[in-house]
């Protein structure tokens, strides 16, 4: 994992997990690495991973089976899609639109549609 972005590390870990859910690398119902395993894999403090897992649990994307571990929730993909679409519309698209205006690029030119 590359931590070049300026977002807080625990958010970047959430983003990474969500991306793996969207791409299908993590299937619904699948068990994911423990806080410690995941921390060791990417060289990050387990407390940081714990925060990420808590955030995703709060959003219903993963869930904790006490004593067994964390699993991808049923319907996680749909939840991530909804969340990421909103994020795109609210935050990413306005930046693109602003940039397109600045550079004088017409939507038809950028997306090849009329």
């Amino acid at each position: 994992m590359d931590f070049n972005s300026n977002k807080s590390i625990y958010i970047q870990i959430c983003d990474d997990i969500c991306e793996k859910i969207l791409s299908g690398r993590f299937a619904e119902g699948e068990r994911i690495a423990s806080v410690r395993e995941y921390g060791a894999e990417i060289g990050v403090n387990p407390n940081t991973v714990m925060r990420s897992y808590e955030k995703l649990t709060g959003e219903g994307i993963i869930f904790n089976k006490r004593g067994i571990g964390y699993f991808i929730s049923e319907g996680a993909r749909e939840a991530v899609l909804k969340k990421e679409r909103k994020e795109f519309m609210d935050n990413e698209l306005p930046v693109i639109i602003k940039r397109m205006k600045l550079l004088g690029i017409d939507p038809s030119e950028a997306f090849g549609v009329k």
Binding site: F3, S5, N6, K7, S8, I9, I11, R36, E37, G39, A40, E41, G43, V44, N45, P46, N47, T48, R51
Partner: protein, 291 residues
């Protein structure tokens, strides 16, 4: 009304496994630590930062019982380290910056000396040596500086102690070993062990150390988790100069600017910028962090 109660809880918090109170230590007439108060919680990997000569090594050697506090006290899970009780020694390990070049192979050393730590595991030692691509059959006095350091790190982790104190562990490690060190520290320590790692190479330990302790001449400037730090300070990585930033530093691709967090938005903590900010605004930082 709730405030005095919270203070009491803070003082006798059950998770505070290491309690340092009014600690003082001088070398002759030269005071190094003066009236130091610190509480360390169980199961965390603390980063101990500070300029040269502020007493990081002195603090670590006091914690592991090599030195005796001249004033104040250290209590680690009801032990006084300087009493050097076997029940404490078997649960603690101090890895110094300078390590000994023993006239025997790493494996022989681990087999003979591992016995002093009840939970030492030779298999774990060999496994970590393997991760570092270090040959356990090699004589320790024939090893390069980096190989020797990695041998000692492997030994320290294989002792499975509850308290692990490491002084500049990444000194002398090559680039891949630094990444291996970060992984090993996460993978091979247990959930209830407490680590305190001093370092100048904050980039080597970025993402691993949390909470951060910043020690100053005879003072503790900061002892806070990354979460607390990010809630109180905002790290901006944009290109626009911000009025009223506490600290700003040019980095490739823009600035790191540190300001008080007024929006509650959480940013990535840059530890070097944090260190410099804390040093520029000692009183402000203390008042912001001391609730």
């Amino acid at each position: 009304m709730s405030l005095p109660l919270r203070c009491t809880i803070r003082l006798i918090h059950a998770n505070d496994m290491i309690q340092i109170q009014n600690l003082g230590f001088s070398y002759g007439n030269f005071p190094v630590l003066n009236n130091i108060n610190l509480q360390l919680e169980e199961g965390r990997i603390y980063g101990l930062l500070g300029e040269n000569g502020v007493g990081k090594t002195t603090l670590l050697t006091l914690l592991c019982g090599l030195k005796k506090p001249q004033t104040g006290s250290i209590i680690i899970d009801s032990h006084n380290p300087y009493k050097r009780e076997p029940s404490f020694l078997t649960e603690s390990y101090y890895l110094s910056d300078e390590v000994a070049q023993m006239n025997m192979s790493a494996q022989e050393y681990a087999k003979s000396y591992g016995k002093f730590w009840e939970k030492f595991q030779i298999e774990k030692f060999l496994e970590i040596m393997g991760i570092f691509e270090n040959d356990p059959a090699q004589k320790m006095n024939k090893m390069s500086c980096g190989q020797l350091k990695k041998t000692w790190i492997s030994f320290a982790l294989a002792c499975n102690t509850r308290y692990l104190f490491m002084d500049e562990p990444t000194n002398g490690l090559d680039i891949p070993s630094k990444a291996q060190f970060r992984k090993a520290v996460t993978k091979y320590t247990s959930e209830d062990s407490t680590l305190l790692i001093s370092t100048h190479q904050v980039r080597d330990l970025e993402n691993i150390i949390d909470p951060i302790i910043i020690l100053d001449r005879q003072d503790v400037l900061l002892n806070a988790t990354l979460e607390e730090i990010a809630s109180k300070l905002y790290f901006d990585y944009g290109t626009e100069k911000i009025e009223g930033a506490l600290y700003s530093e040019l980095v490739p691709g823009g600035n790191v600017q540190v300001l008080l967090n007024s929006t509650g938005e959480e940013s990535k903590v840059n530890i070097e910028a944090l260190f410099n900010t804390v040093h520029l605004h000692k009183d402000l930082i203390k008042s912001v962090f001391n609730k």
